[in-house]
């Protein structure tokens, strides 16, 4: 499971404040804790207005890299901010968050991903919003994969996010998500599947329990990456256990090691 740590995100109030005040200690703490908890990538989202976003993105990257060498996932719809970030990360693996069927992203994000051969999160939505059915979402994914292929980006660089909606407003959100995941994997076996796991439980009580149950079933449906809080120990344990139970953990060593190191 490729974990993308979600916490350095300017749409969270405390992070927005830290960015405004250039509070390095706060950002460093978020970076250290998430990478120690086993995040493979840290999402970096400044969430600030377009004119100052490139500078904020650069500051975040420098601050994070002053304490950890972890890979980064640059999260913005603003091509200038992404460019500024890519400049900072020259020789490191880069993930971009994200491409979708929206025109501004096709024009702004796709060329950058192809040019720099980045990993790329791909969202199943377009200018009309998030489609209701799995089939419509698949149609968007199909046209986007055609574009990334034409741009020379291998399928294995793609992290397709079928977009999880909350169970609170649609009790069929889970089955719909699993169905879409299976269909994407059938058609594009080399792509990764990722998701913001906690979306499933928005508006519900005891959310962590729902997130864990969803994670287990989603992994069975092909999910191999997730945008989560890596410090959630119970969720981490669930992921390791599920991977093992599904026969994905050779000699159960990942699970045993995680147990021994106190990670789960």
């Amino acid at each position: 499971m490729i974990i993308i740590g979600e916490k350095i995100n300017g749409t969270r109030k405390q992070v927005a404040k830290a960015i405004q005040e250039r509070d390095e200690t706060f950002i460093r703490e978020l970076a250290i804790k998430q990478s120690e908890a086993g995040a493979h990538y840290l999402d970096i989202n400044a969430g600030t207005p377009p004119d100052r976003e490139p500078a904020d993105m650069v500051w975040l990257i420098q601050t994070v890299h002053s304490v950890t060498n972890v890979n980064l996932c640059l999260d913005s719809t603003n091509p200038e901010a992404l460019k500024a970030g890519i400049q900072q990360l020259k020789d490191k693996p880069i993930m971009l968050n994200s491409l979708s069927g929206e025109k501004n992203r096709i024009n702004g994000v796709l060329p950058l991903a192809c040019e720099h051969n980045t990993e790329l999160i791909v969202l199943a939505l377009d200018d009309k919003g998030i489609p209701n059915t799995g089939e419509e979402r698949l149609a968007i994914i199909r046209s986007l994969v055609e574009m990334t292929r034409n741009g020379g980006l291998p399928d294995r660089n793609l992290y397709i996010d079928p977009l999880i909606t909350t169970i609170a407003t649609d009790t069929q959100s889970g089955p719909k998500a699993f169905d879409t995941m299976r269909k994407i994997k059938d058609e594009f076996p080399d792509v990764h599947l990722t998701a913001g796991l906690s979306n499933i439980s928005f508006g519900m009580p005891s959310r962590p329990l729902i997130n864990r149950a969803f994670a287990a079933l989603a992994i069975a449906a092909g999910l191999d990456s997730a945008i989560i809080n890596p410090e959630d120990k119970e969720l981490r344990g669930m992921v390791k256990a599920v991977e093992m139970v599904l026969g994905m953990d050779k000699h159960c060593l990942n699970y045993i090691r995680a147990h021994r190191s106190g990670q789960i």
């Binding site: 749409t11 969430g47 207005p49 719809t77």
Partner: protein
């Protein structure tokens, strides 16, 4: 009536339907039955605000009210019908933002609380808000946005409403992830609400 209110608040859909049918058969004033549903909805809303009830319960109680309204509508006199809606509200998620969960819940809650709601959907261009404001003649416009990049489209929408000369007669409320009173001032709205229940309260205050 208390039994009906209790059944709705307890999320006992079958019992609520049975009681409602029974009351209709007994020729009880249909407006009284609807009042009971509204009282129940108010209680559900109160418990939601306290964190004791959750979104699925808001939705289920809304469905119960809608089902009852459908049955009761044909029984209402013309006078009752015309006094039915409290006012008109336009709702939409602003340009550049596609988040719809919160907006849909606000739309639902306003609807079941007696407002005529025009939902413009997500990623709504400034011009569409203005056009709808002129055609639909609402007392209130609610703008939703989850992202920080929703601030400027909100500000632009308010400015365009001023430009079009309709701002004075319309109250504007905003809501969504990052919104607070500081953002309300920045975009030039009249109020900020933290959830659907507050949206209803704001409209109730403004439209009396």
């Amino acid at each position: 009536m208390k039994e009906l209110i209790d059944a709705i608040v307890a999320m006992d859909e079958e019992k609520a339907i049975a009681l409602t049918d029974h009351m209709i058969d007994d020729n009880i004033d249909p407006m009284k039955i609807l009042d009971a549903y509204r009282d129940a909805m108010a209680e559900v809303g109160r418990r939601f605000e306290e964190g004791k009830f959750f979104i699925p319960e808001l939705i289920l109680s809304g469905e119960m009210l809608n089902a009852a309204s459908e049955k009761i509508k044909p029984l209402l006199t013309a006078a009752n019908k015309s006094s039915k809606k409290k006012g008109k509200v336009i709702i939409g998620t602003v340009a550049g933002d596609i988040h719809d969960i919160g907006k849909d819940i606000v739309t639902l809650m306003l609807d079941i609380n007696g407002y005529e709601v025009l939902d413009l959907g997500i990623d709504v261009p400034v011009a569409k808000f203005v056009e709808a404001a002129k055609d639909f003649n609402p007392q209130v416009i609610g703008m939703s946005g989850f992202l920080t990049m929703a601030y400027d489209p909100m500000k632009n929408t308010v400015a365009a409403l001023v430009e079009a000369g309709v701002r004075e007669e319309i109250k504007i409320m905003i809501g969504g992830g990052q919104m607070d009173n500081q953002i309300r001032d920045y975009v030039g709205a009249d109020a900020f609400g933290k959830d659907a229940i507050e949206a209803v309260k704001l409209c109730d205050q403004w439209i009396k």
